[in-house]
């Protein structure tokens, strides 16, 4: 375990260095206008992270969610203009279905399609993040009463671009009449919610990383920006707002740690409920505070703050919303009754 943890922290440091050197506001802007940075993607892929959660026996790195949590946060910290987190989760899901991981970026559709007896798909996957730049897409389909995972070649599909808050490429994907290049039944209990939970956990970690970075940006700005003959950091109103931002960043970090460890403990849906409920609200408040501290300059296209705040708004709502996950958690807690609340909270 120690060795894997060391490898994991090494990878997150390498990723941090790579992204710090490579990711510029221009590159974020480029991906938002549809230009995919293939060179950056290849460098990320070379780090070996795309198979991080895939077992070693299937050609992956065999790491745990807890191991890669720091790397997922680093992706949020840099608002990385590549679907590295999305791809490593997709490969993990492929391996859960006993399918081989694929090279290159992979997008994931969350809608439930149907796969007929001839092995042909019916239906569409709406609002699939990164689909326009991914050679492969995975979708869920019902087949003979069982949930199947289908691997699709993007060139076989009709994509209709969709605008999203992050402006990263996304599309509605029409799958009618398409034959998957591979299909396998998902294990018993792996539902649509399970798939969503994988991405909610990813986004929880990305939110934590982004909030930590926004906090650093705000502290720097407050120390530099002078008004009324002193840095605005001297004003108690600013200090207290940033203390609150720090609290939200810290809580989202703890939420991400919890969510990842639940994912490792075969309770990824619970992890997603708690993680996204907390981190989603941290994203909401954190974005508000950061914009208030940065004032008008932070509201401009030219300033890079919006690359982070728009992604926070994206991630809190991409794999169902924080509101939805809160509702799932509440439904579960309420149906267990008042007497079970505390025992369930402390159950390790």
């Amino acid at each position: 375990m120690t060795t894997e943890t060391d490898i994991a922290s090494l990878i997150s440091q390498q990723l941090d260095r790579l992204l710090a050197a490579q990711v510029t506001p221009e590159k974020r802007k480029a991906v938002e206008s549809g230009q995919f940075d293939t060179a950056l993607w290849q460098e990320c892929e070379a780090l070996g992270l795309t198979g991080a959660l895939v077992p070693e026996s299937a050609g992956g790195a065999g790491l745990s969610w807890a191991d890669i949590a720091p790397s997922l946060m680093v992706l949020g910290k840099h608002a990385a203009p590549v679907p590295l987190g999305e791809t490593l989760v997709a490969n993990h899901v492929l391996s859960a279905a006993g399918m081989a991981m694929v090279a290159g970026p992979v997008a994931t559709g969350f809608d439930m399609l149907t796969l007929d007896a001839q092995g042909v798909l019916h239906g569409a996957a709406k609002s699939v993040n990164w689909a326009p730049v991914c050679p492969h897409i995975i979708v869920l389909a019902q087949h003979q009463g069982q949930t199947h995972l289908c691997l699709l070649r993007s060139s076989d599909l009709r994509l209709a671009a969709v605008n999203t808050l992050s402006r990263e490429p996304a599309a509605d994907v029409a799958c009618d009449g398409v034959k998957p290049i591979a299909t396998a039944a998902l294990p018993e209990g792996f539902s649509q919610t399970t798939l969503l939970a994988h991405f909610a956990v990813l986004h929880t970690a990305q939110i934590a990383g982004a909030l930590g970075h926004m906090l650093a940006l705000c502290v720097q700005y407050a120390n530099d920006r002078v008004q009324f003959e002193r840095p605005i950091a001297k004003f108690q109103a600013i200090q207290h707002a940033l203390a609150q931002l720090a609290s939200e960043a810290a809580a989202s970090q703890a939420a991400a740690g919890f969510a990842c460890s639940k994912a490792d403990a075969q309770a990824i849906e619970h992890g997603a409920m708690v993680g996204m409920s907390r981190a989603g609200r941290a994203a909401t408040l954190g974005a508000e505070i950061a914009h208030q501290v940065f004032g008008a300059i932070g509201f401009t296209d030219e300033h890079s703050l919006h690359y982070f705040t728009r992604r926070l708004w994206q991630w809190r709502a991409s794999a169902r919303s924080d509101q939805w996950w809160s509702e799932q958690l509440g439904a579960k807690v309420i149906s267990a009754g008042g007497g079970a609340v505390w025992p369930n909270i402390v159950a390790a």
């Binding site: 919890f258 958690l329 008042g338 505390w342």
Partner: protein, 383 residues
């Protein structure tokens, strides 16, 4: 990425489950006899008989050395006991200060004879302590205390006044902060000393302050030439500021900083009937918040156990925790049509009646929200 805080995950293993179960079985018959109003006080409620029963179980001073009556159990075991008792709404105030603060303080700074005479009696739940910090003109600006300790033959003579002293009227001893230095040009944090004061001392008088709930928790404590012997000086003369501050990381990150209103949640859930989407959402948010606060609190405990002083993290948990606690009565009001009635026959109304009135104090006690946010801001490097 260099982060201004650390919340590495620490998990309580299921090896503590039997202890947890034991606490639940212990508290359950008591709880059956408590009113909603009493349950709502939880760790702030005074019940000396209950504290003695907790002591008899070995759950006060349970981490302390055996030679002082302790059980040499781990901080994590103590955490399990404390969180279980608070979640059940158990009244802990009669032993709370002794267990959490005075005992550890005596072990770090007290003389050997004080340890031997006092610690075993804290462990048994016999002794109640109060803390004399605030004064009429020293609230958040604690270092400005003016009550004086003057060196005399064989000890010190204390003069001045403390205020907002919780439980002084039921306490056996106070740990009080006094100015012993006489150098007017010294920084105000210097020249402060901590004393152990017998509440039966001559010249010491306690006057009640009734709070807005109608109850008597606070007091004024007046010192008129109160004599304390030399061996009741805790630690070094003039070093009290450091001694006081070093306790804070522990004090500010414990379950009492976010569980004070927990008892409302099970009651609320049982009152919901068929919940609508809003109810599910709000309950989900509340549970998610609580799980994450507990994660953060446990992380701090792990860091303390590893010999670190996570003061930033603790200030952060207290601020988040108090804000969370304070929202709980409002959550009940949001989800059920709670009236103003406070009826002993209706446990939820009884608990809600007390907690609605009590929550404003949560972001005052143990460091106000404003002080905490100032500490956090400073730690962030705001210049």
């Amino acid at each position: 990425m260099s982060s201004p805080f650390n919340f590495d995950r620490v998990v309580l293993s299921d090896a503590y489950d039997p202890l947890r179960q034991e606490v639940r079985e212990f508290v359950s018959p008591f709880r059956d006899t408590w009113s909603g109003w009493k349950i709502a006080h939880t760790w702030g409620g005074i019940d000396k008989e209950f504290s003695k029963a907790v002591g008899a179980k070995g759950w006060i001073g349970m981490t302390w050395p055996k030679k002082y009556g302790g059980a040499e159990r781990s901080q994590f075991e103590r955490y399990v006991v404390v969180e279980e008792l608070i979640a059940a709404g158990a009244p802990l105030a009669a032993h709370w200060v002794g267990d959490r603060q005075t005992g550890p303080l005596l072990m770090r700074y007290g003389s050997e004879d004080l340890r031997q005479s006092l610690l075993p009696r804290i462990v048994s739940g016999e002794l109640t302590f109060c803390i004399g910090l605030s004064e009429p003109n020293s609230g958040s600006d604690l270092a400005s205390v003016r009550s004086k300790a003057e060196k005399v033959e064989g000890g010190y003579r204390l003069n001045g006044q403390k205020i907002w002293t919780s439980g002084a009227h039921v306490s056996d001893f106070m740990i009080g902060l006094f100015r012993s230095g006489t150098d007017k040009d010294a920084p105000k944090h210097a020249g402060l000393s901590q004393f152990l004061i017998d509440m039966r001392s001559s010249g010491l008088s306690v006057r009640p302050i009734t709070d807005l709930t109608g109850e008597h928790h606070f007091n004024e404590v007046h010192f008129d030439n109160v004599f304390v012997p030399d061996n009741h000086l805790i630690g070094e003369e003039g070093n009290a500021w450091k001694q006081v501050v070093s306790e804070l990381a522990f004090e500010r990150s414990q379950p009492d900083r976010f569980l004070s209103c927990f008892v409302l949640l099970p009651m609320l859930i049982d009152e919901l009937g068929t919940p609508d989407r809003l109810a599910k959402r709000r309950v989900g948010e509340s549970v998610a918040d609580l799980i994450v606060l507990r994660e953060m609190s446990l992380s701090i405990l792990g860091q303390l156990e590893a010999g670190k002083v996570p003061a930033q993290e603790a200030a952060l948990v207290k601020d988040l925790g108090n804000t969370y606690e304070q929202k709980q009565p409002a959550l009940v009001r949001e989800l059920i049509d709670a009236a103003h009635d406070i009826r002993p026959s209706h446990t939820l109304s009884d608990a809600l009646g007390y907690l609605t009135q009590s929550v404003p104090s949560y972001s005052l006690r143990g460091g106000t929200r404003e002080i905490l946010r100032g500490i956090i801001a400073k730690g962030l490097g705001l210049k």
